[in-house]
Symmetry: C2
Subunit: 589 residues, 2 copies
């Protein structure tokens, strides 16, 4: 037996017992006559003590050779500490060591195994197994385990059945790029890794499974932005004989249960916001509702006063930065520079300051009277001490620009703390969006999402199809889309029409999705579902910006695992067996 | 709302309530004045009733158009049945229908949606979504869900943390063939899909996770025998600071918990059998211990009596088919033909019959006296009425041949019922096995398994390494290996030596497993683990021979999913982006 207790287990009640502990050396303090060792494992730290001339001589000798991260087994007796440490769960006791066995020595780690480490990102990724030894990183993965556990318990209690869908499936041209897998047994042919189990979960509904879930790896071969991973995990769910309302209630229940059990926080009822309102009041489809600062439109109020910029604009819209009237010229210039950054692209920023003394001043005083400014302030419901910030331009660009400004201000004003949570459902997304470049309609969610108005969908002229909304919904927490789904099409002719609109020929639709279209002819029930981004959900619960911290072995932005050095070349024999060859590679710059 | 209750929910207490049900038409009986419909969903069947002239006329009209597998919503009132059906949970009531809405009609399914179907294997796989609608198939997947749930609950309660390891990893030449995935972002390079998360779980132990588990998809590009799948699922586990005994106890606990909760069966303590004894007494490393019939060796007893076959044999070994003395000549000939089949390859079968009247007769009476036969019978502990069956030859072939005969007899005698369970641990496997063809040692388990005797491993001459046993163990249930694992090497020099023995150059070892070897230098703890074949485990619990019945969307023996028609060709643009091309394909025969 390599241990009788873990390093987090011993208490006053164990005093006098002979115990065996195993763990890592966190610290050694050698005071000459006395040596103390902090022994660490996943469960805690226990202080070991050796006294010169009293303990086992051999143990003292070994203790003097120990370094950080050595792995030991020690035997000894639990004694009460003279100087107790109330900050440690084991702080009342220490173990008087009789024998030490070193399982493994350790080289000096390339960075500090502490919450506040000196290791850079690349070094920590290369030695991920040491990075994971840091308490703060392991806690993220423990949280992930908890989120999975609570999710499963909730869904189990609601009669969902966990079903595994295949990983080796078929490549489809719609959507993001697939990872593909050459088949040795079927030369010249390829499997694809799933971007989601969408069609399989729909088939399970046709099969009468009624309620399905899976916590499942999905894959997308996309150019990776800072916070994407080529493989990611979804909580994937589907229900039969339900309408949108049933799905929203079921998964609002899940999220509230998660907040309660994982964060000890009672999430209030999750409000619902129309997509159109989200765009109108927040300029984006995933508003951060931890703070207000909703958009206020001034178009009707400020045009016709000879201010050319406003008169030429399609929309004039602003936010009220409450309490910011004291912003200096420099601070306002910073905000102006912020919105003029190329990534945001605004032409300029108009401000109206409602000074504490009640006077109004603006960057456009030349064009607007005190009276004008008063009615603007009234529209903003501004009070003395507030600062109104206004953008103008075309609708399509201006709202997203103001969204960026609003978020920036929210951050500056401390209105977006990581330990505050605000969730909402965004509903009634458009069904289709127009691809300017490709000159065709694209499914905003995916091709299996049902239109709200089937009649309109079947009969509206092609160019007006953008008016139709979908039975689609997203859950947004703190401005991050954590999940989304839709009520699905379950009628073959409706699905055919959708594929046709999306530019599939009947032959292509049959080749790609014939099995699903066929299934719809054998008694497909109404069904709907959704998927949560599991990595993202965990990062929200963990109060972190990056999902990478919640994945045990993540890949970098080039899709590489720098620890195992993957991907890598494979041997020619392997390629021969798969009937593939590599083409001449692109020239490196 | 599409339903107020499921089709399995209504009881006498609901009589008088207005309800809405949704489901599939299982059966329609139209008796002229009355129509009955069995409406089915996952939860059960509810009888619907419509009475001509009393109900809604429109509903009657719709009812007359319904076919099997149509999907409906019905509204009506729960009434007490005149003729109750005690076999159905809803058999006390029926629903008097006021309105019917058809969600979807259904074509006639290509096979009967019943437990006893007329659909052949290929047809059912092509329409797997209809096959899954059969109660018997869905129950298999519900059982799978249960096994997963109990497994997670058990491991959670023992402080295991579920950690997801990556699916896109690195190809390694050792072991079975990898599936590979070309990397677009790293041209000319490939990921591999994991055959198991072995190295990652070991790294998690180095990271101090202490106890890890995962129910995880693994992949092997092997030529598929009847009951293999290219993607399969493992319950994968690893523990730190444990010895073999700790692991056996922990996972024996899991299996007993599973039997208790899933089958309602108290599995007795799981016995342990040495690999050497399994070979000696059963001729295989996964004996079916639902029945006895252990091997009895006669070599010393029967040689030197001028029977050339026995005298030339390395081993003479048999089994006692208790109570089979009545076997006819024809039955014995069948058994002889059985062992002489090319797949088994015995030269012949010797029998000794202990007749009910106490006389002994054999197929080798020419060489053996009554006295000889008596001492043979005594060695078998045979009684009047028994039949002894004996094979002779070299040890390596004869034992496996007798194993086949033993299993065949067990089946014939009804000693292997699917609802009886016998589990055992097989321990002390050899560490290495000699590859005759390759003229080198192979790891019997895998290269990370530790030798029982490290000293011997480091110092025995090369040709004697086969004598060394491993800290490796398999769990066998009813003659099927359901899981296995080992105590791992955690010392770099020992691991280096192992790689060297397995024919790795130091450079190859570093290129393939450098990250693990490096990790061993930063304080690797003693650790051990195991993995259960999850599909296999489910099939055992379900009393089935094939794992395919316990996988929602399995592939056929050519690795194809015939429902979605995968794998398939991909478009040239996709291949260009991946810098790969297909080679000229092999000529089809």
């Amino acid at each position: 037996m390599l241990r009788t207790h873990t390093c987090g287990a011993l208490r006053m009640e164990h005093v006098g017992q002979d115990v065996t502990l195993s763990g890592w050396v966190a610290r050694v303090r050698d005071k000459g006559g006395m040596i103390w060792i902090d022994l660490r494992d996943r469960y805690g730290i226990t202080q070991l003590m050796l006294e010169e001339g009293k303990g086992n001589k051999e143990a003292i000798e070994i203790a003097r050779t120990l370094g950080r991260e050595y792995v030991l087994k020690v035997q000894g007796k639990v004694i009460e500490r003279v100087a107790k440490n109330p900050k440690m769960s084991t702080g009342d006791i220490e173990v008087k060591v009789a024998a030490i066995q070193v399982f493994n020595p350790s080289k000096v780690p390339p960075f500090l195994i502490e919450d506040d480490t000196d290791g850079g990102d690349e070094l920590r990724m290369r030695y991920r197994y040491l990075d994971l030894r840091r308490d703060i990183v392991r806690q993220n993965l423990v949280l992930r385990h908890q989120v999975a556990k609570v999710t499963r318990a909730y869904l189990d209690s609601h009669q969902f059945i966990e079903v595994e869908t295949p990983v080796l499936i078929k490549s489809t041209p719609e959507g993001a790029r697939d990872f593909v897998v050459p088949s040795r047994m079927n030369p010249g042919q390829f499997y694809a890794l799933p971007q989601s189990p969408q069609t399989f979960k729909q088939l399970l509904m046709v099969s009468g499974f009624d309620r399905y879930y899976q916590i499942v790896k999905c894959f997308r071969d996309e150019d990776l932005r800072a916070d994407r991973q080529p493989e990611f995990t979804q909580i994937d769910c589907e229900m039969s004989f339900v309408e949108q309302e049933d799905v929203l209630n079921m998964f609002e229940g899940l999220v509230r249960q998660l907040f309660k059990e994982v964060k000890g926080f009672d999430l209030p009822e999750v409000p619902r916001m129309l997509y159109a309102d989200a765009m109108k009041y927040y300029g984006c489809d995933k508003p951060d509702t931890r703070f207000g600062m909703r958009f206020v439109e001034l178009t009707d109020l400020v045009q016709g006063k000879n201010f050319q910029v406003f008169d030429a604009a399609e929309i004039i819209v602003g936010i009220n930065a409450t309490g910011c009237a004291g912003y200096t010229r420099k601070e306002i210039d910073e905000l102006t520079d912020f919105v003029k950054r190329p990534q945001i692209g605004a032409k300029g920023l108009v401000w109206v300051r409602y000074a504490a003394d009640g006077t109004l001043k603006s960057s456009v005083d030349k064009f607007y009277t005190e009276e004008d400014l008063k009615s603007i302030a009234a529209r903003f419901e501004a009070k003395p001490g507030d600062l109104m910030l206004v953008l103008a331009g075309d609708v399509k660009s201006t709202r997203p620009q103001l969204n960026e400004l609003r978020l920036e201000l929210g951050s500056r004003l401390g209105l977006r703390p990581k330990d505050k949570f605000s969730a909402l459902w965004v509903i009634d997304f458009p069904l289709l969006e127009w691809g300017e470049e490709e000159k065709r309609w694209f499914a905003m969610h995916h091709p299996f999402t049902s239109p709200k108005d089937v009649e309109a969908f079947m009969h509206l002229p092609f160019e007006r199809l953008g008016e139709i909304n979908a039975n689609a919904y997203d859950m947004v927490i703190n401005g991050v889309e954590v999940g989304g789904g839709s009520v699905r099409i379950y009628d073959r002719s409706l699905q055919n029409k959708m594929f046709e609109l999306l530019g599939f020929t009947p032959e292509e639709a049959k080749a790609q999705f014939g099995f699903l279209l066929d299934a719809f002819e054998f008694g497909a029930p109404p069904h709907a579902g959704l998927a949560f981004g599991f990595d993202r959900l965990c990062s929200i619960f963990g109060g972190a910006d990056s999902i990478r911290d919640f994945i045990a072995f993540p890949k970098n932005n080039s899709g590489r695992d720098v620890m195992i050095d993957s991907p890598s070349e494979i041997n020619p024999k392997q390629m021969d067996e798969l009937y593939i060859a590599t083409k001449p590679l692109p020239q490196k710059n």
